[in-house]
């Protein structure tokens, strides 16, 4: 399901999503399938590698994400936890495949100063450390509505990573990378199918869920679970992948707005502006 301007948003996938079938068909390591020698003959550019490194860390942040999600009522829903179990597994191996490509190029992340240790940064760190406590207390009171928010963020995360892979493949024009990323996109289409069906259903049926999701999304920036990312890396990624493709950004915003209760938002445009640090 490519995210392309002008294309209709995907229709509701078959519902209910068969979590057991999804778990059965899980995809593990990609290492045997990667033709890494192809990169020796025609290496990727440094810019492409830099973007791949960023998106690898987004994929790899599953446990950090689960940390915030599982202390809320979301953990009570066994369908969702069963899904997240396989989701985390597949994402682990997607990140590993990107790792293999980076290793083949002996890519080293450029030394960049960590984010300055300002008062705001210290506060953020303290929040990150203690956030599950506050979240746990607040979210257990709000109840089921929180699950809708988690499913909506899951949906947006899928749209954003899909768009990233498509943009990276497009600009790299590398046959082997495109082949690998198509495989990744294929796996991730199941993740999107689950999140979007859950998000739509839950948002449609609860006013509280719509209000909560709208309010929280306005306060959050994708990617949610990546911490301590150097500003240089973040702004490089957003410049190259999103700022250079305004129509794509508008298209994802259009999709977000099509979710129940999220009319009128321009979240992605705001996210790209904030992450570019201009």
């Amino acid at each position: 399901m490519p995210v392309r301007p002008g294309e209709p948003a995907e229709t509701d996938p078959a519902f209910p999503f068969d979590v057991r079938e999804f778990a059965r068909r899980a995809t593990g390591s990609h290492r045997d399938d990667l033709r890494l020698a192809e990169y020796d003959a025609r290496p990727l550019t440094w810019e492409t590698l830099r973007c791949l490194r960023y998106v690898r860390d987004v994929e790899r942040a599953t446990m950090r994400h689960l940390r915030t999600v599982l202390v809320t009522p979301t953990h009570k829903d066994a369908h969702i936890t069963a899904f997240l179990t396989t989701w985390a597994y597949e994402k682990y191996w997607i990140a590993d495949a990107l790792d293999a490509v980076l290793e083949q190029h002996e890519y080293v992340q450029p030394p960049a100063p960590r984010r300055p240790v300002t008062r705001a940064a210290l506060l953020r760190r303290a929040q990150e450390r203690f956030s599950p406590i506050g979240r746990s207390l607040i979210d257990n009171t709000i109840g089921e509505a929180v699950i809708a928010f988690h499913m909506a963020t899951g949906t947006i995360d899928e749209w954003m990573t899909r768009a990233s892979y498509e943009r990276i493949a497009e600009s790299a024009e590398h046959k082997e990378l495109t082949r690998t990323l198509e495989r990744v996109l294929d796996i991730k289409s199941q993740h999107l199918a689950f999140f979007i069906a859950q998000a739509r259903t839950r948002l449609r049926r609860s006013r509280l869920a719509r209000r909560l999701t709208r309010a929280r999304l306005q306060r959050s920036l994708w990617p949610l679970s990546v911490a301590d990312e150097p500003i240089e890396e973040e702004s490089f990624f957003f410049d190259r992948v999103f700022a250079a493709a305004p129509a794509l950004v508008d298209e994802i915003d259009r999709r977000v707005r099509a979710l129940p209760g999220l009319e009128g938002l321009t979240l992605i445009r705001a996210t790209v502006a904030a992450r570019r640090h201009i």
């Binding site: 778990a23 390591s29 446990m63 599982l70 953990h75 179990t85 597994y89 406590i133």
Partner: protein, 264 residues
């Protein structure tokens, strides 16, 4: 012995049972007490994700190897649940996600405060608390390995025994991770040793207690460990614990059995 996380992740699989023939259960079903124990074990496996949640509330989520292990471990345990659910299904006992959800909802407020308490404690004492989680995990995995191995011996049905042995084999790989982590962390810090000893003595209870009714805990423990040789297995777990730095002389598993009236 060092734990090779890359090797573990590369070789992590969902437990297989499709090659095992459970046909004879149709004419000769498992006895009710065995089904009851299997049901308990199945529930515990599916609820692993709730323990994962507790583990991730502490600073341990910051370590890449730990995150990699947790990802695979959680999935392997989910598949143990699926395998046991299959055996139960052949006896007309359906384990579906809605029932598991109902169970988690029932646990209620107490459960809501758990991660809070744990996170507070974990964050205050920092990395030393990871040692507590690791020894906790090791004890649970030792218990799980013992439980599956015992049930395989007690029931004596070849296909079931083979499935339980396969599960036990995966559990013993989990033991290797937790025990290696626990040993290193306990060796390094006196505070970790004190905390671990305190937490195990004060708070340890058999896996599943707290999530499942106490009656069920007592049933499983007496079914598996009540008979001849049962307490011997229990003492073996305590011996493993006692070999850990700073944990010599603890008999928490035997104590938990005795306090439930289970004695050989």
């Amino acid at each position: 012995m060092a734990f090779d996380i890359d090797r573990f992740t590369r070789t992590s699989q969902s437990v297989q049972w499709q090659d095992l023939s459970f046909e004879d259960f149709r004419d000769d079903p498992l006895p009710p007490q065995t089904l009851r124990s299997l049901r308990y074990m199945c529930d515990v496996e599916y609820h692993t994700v709730c323990y994962l949640r507790d583990l991730l509330v502490t600073p341990s989520h910051k370590e890449h190897d730990v995150a990699a292990f947790m990802t695979m471990w959680n999935r392997e345990e989910f598949w143990h649940g699926e395998a046991l659910a299959h055996v139960l299904g052949l006896h007309g006992i359906t384990v579906d996600f809605d029932q598991l959800k109902a169970r988690r909802l029932k646990v209620g407020w107490k459960d809501r405060l758990d991660p809070v308490k744990q996170s507070l404690l974990g964050n205050i004492v920092g990395t030393d608390f990871i040692a507590v989680h690791m020894i906790w995990g090791a004890v649970n995995e030792w218990s799980a390995t013992a439980a599956y191995t015992r049930l395989a011996e007690l029931e004596g049905r070849p296909a079931l025994a083979e499935l339980l042995r396969r599960i036990a084999k995966q559990e013993s790989r989990h033991v290797a991770f937790y025990a290696t982590q626990a040993r290193n962390r306990l060796e390094r810090s006196k505070k970790a040793r004190m905390l671990a000893r305190f937490a195990l003595r004060k708070a340890w209870a058999p896996v599943g207690s707290g999530v499942l009714p106490e009656d069920e805990v007592v049933h499983v423990m007496s079914h598996l460990f009540g008979g001849p040789g049962g307490m011997e297995e229990i003492r073996k777990i305590d011996t493993h614990i006692g070999r850990m730095p700073g944990l010599g002389g603890l008999t928490i598993v035997e104590d938990a059995m005795r306090s439930r009236g289970i004695a050989a």
